[in-house]
Amino acid sequence: MTLFSRLTLPPHWRPSLLLALACVGLPAAAQPPTFEDTMAQRMVACTACHGNQGRAAPDGYYPRLAGKPAGYLYNQLLHFRDGRRTYRLMTQMVDPLSDAYLLEIAEHFAAMDVPYPAPAKAQATPQELQRGEQLALHGDAARRLPACVACHGAALTGVQPATPGLLGLPRDYLNAQLGAWRTGQRKAHAPDCMADIAQRLDIRDIAAVSAWLSTQRLPANTHAVAPGAAPLPLQCGSAMPPKGGRP
């Protein structure tokens, strides 16, 4: 018997649960010392896991929100609400909120311009790192794998309005996302370019590219850049502003 409900956990979420549990306790919600009627105050439910100002929790699983393009963050909130991404806590957080408020939340965290942590120390072989660099910067034409830089910006800091940067993220998080995309547990607006790409990657590719990305230092300009003139190598439903206009 399946016992799905919004408050129970389907078995296929267990890996992410284990990852979440593996994090040794969440940091206490870093709250402002006194109450102020601000967005930051409204968002303590988010920053409890995603870190003060959305800088990410030091334990690695809950990703940084600060400075990601607002369109990307907004899309993710919609994905959680509409079942294209599945993490029970996130889904029930966004469920009761309006599109307008979700957009305001996305813009709030997108506007956080705060420093990134130092990159992780490499836990990979030089060959693995080299393979990762190759995939990230050049792709693999024989397997129709575009380079990460083709869509995520030459410096991998993201592209406005809705393509995220790939640096400053923990390797566990990158592995989990690429894995979820590969198995169909994470989806985006159709046409779902990242699903196509992740399905062409094998486990070793994912390990290599996550190892390389997670060990790169951010450039001086960490901001997402304006879209370039060159067409994207794939059709991406999520690279465009979501339905309804803004952002």
Binding site: T8, Q31, A45, R81, P96, Y101
Partner: protein, 432 residues
Amino acid sequence: MSRIALRAFAVLLLIGVAVVAWLAWPAQPIAVPPATVAADLRDPNTIERGRYLSVLGNCQACHTPRGGEPFAGGYALPTPFGTVYGSNLTPSESGLGPWSADDFWRAMHHGQGPDGRWLNPAFPYNNTTQVTREDSDALYAYFRSLPPVDTPVPPHDIRWPYNTQLALKAWRTLYFKAGPEEPPTSAARAPEMLRGAYLVNGLGHCSACHVPRDALGGQGDMLGLSGGLIPMQRWYAPSLLDPAEAGLQDWSVDEIVALFKDGRARDALVSGPMAEVVQHSTQHWAPADLRAMASYLQQLPKPPASRSENPPAADGRALSVGGKRYEQHCAQCHGNQGEGITSQGATAYPALAGNRAVTMASPANLVQIVLNGGFGPATEGHPRPFGMPPFVLQLNDQELADVLTYVRTQWGNQAPPVSALDVQQLRGPLGR
């Protein structure tokens, strides 16, 4: 064995066989009289009224899957007997396409499908049976106007014997009471009160959650509102009769209306399943309907004996440890004295002192709120709610029990302590 005993046994056996045979007899579709006023199913006004009625009934909650096409069915509703999938209400082949308005009325009024099969009572037909034929026809007209969607809906995944027609007939024999054929009228009750009762008992289907249920998921009075644990969700739908729970007898009609319109009134915020109801249904109700419902709820009779016995005292350890945790995790927003925080004259973080959600006998909702945190519904009157962090990954059962025991016994609150076992049961095996 004496001859008399043998005879008695034979008679009992015969009666037993007769009852089973009656239950198992294939049902014919119940004959429904044609509508007295034939509805024009293509009239835009009828369709629009049907759309509004579907909002009153929050039909999409169970008939639209997450992120899916409106009313295309397939939403999985867990029950203690298995998973029920909301049916497709669009006019496609697998939806309402082959149904007539009479068929739709038969399902609403009698809980029976066009082929005579008894419907699963996860569809709250004890409530929909109260809906008038005119409203049923308008709903039907609206669903017929939707774009047809033919996404397959999985069959119900219910355990034997609950999945049998025999069990469903037994259930309805025990618990189902058909509503009136004609809209109720009464010289003794104001039209607004009649409308309120119609909304609460009919499309609003408040009792679907607020009725206490027995092991078979029923109760003698399926329109009762004395409160019950919602199966599987582990939220408690509080009594709408008892002022110590969610009874509204001491509220003004305006305050009640605000609660359903904005999701926030006085020092109360709706949360959990009720937040969904406000978000998808009541915030969109017409003002007159909100007032009618509020007036009706306000005059519900209080139960004869409200809870008044002295609760068992909490032990000193729980209070001391719970107090420290409160200071660490809760006081920042809910105040050192449980006074909460108001901003611009309205509740930002609710007070816990004197809060009925805190002091209700059942700790279920408190446990869910602290485990999951979250936001109240974003409504027109309260568009940017403040959020509460989840503590599910932070507090174990004992720690949660201690802090809840603390808030239930401080600042004048006098509620029974919460044990780690209570929390464990409410958290459930998959509750994280």
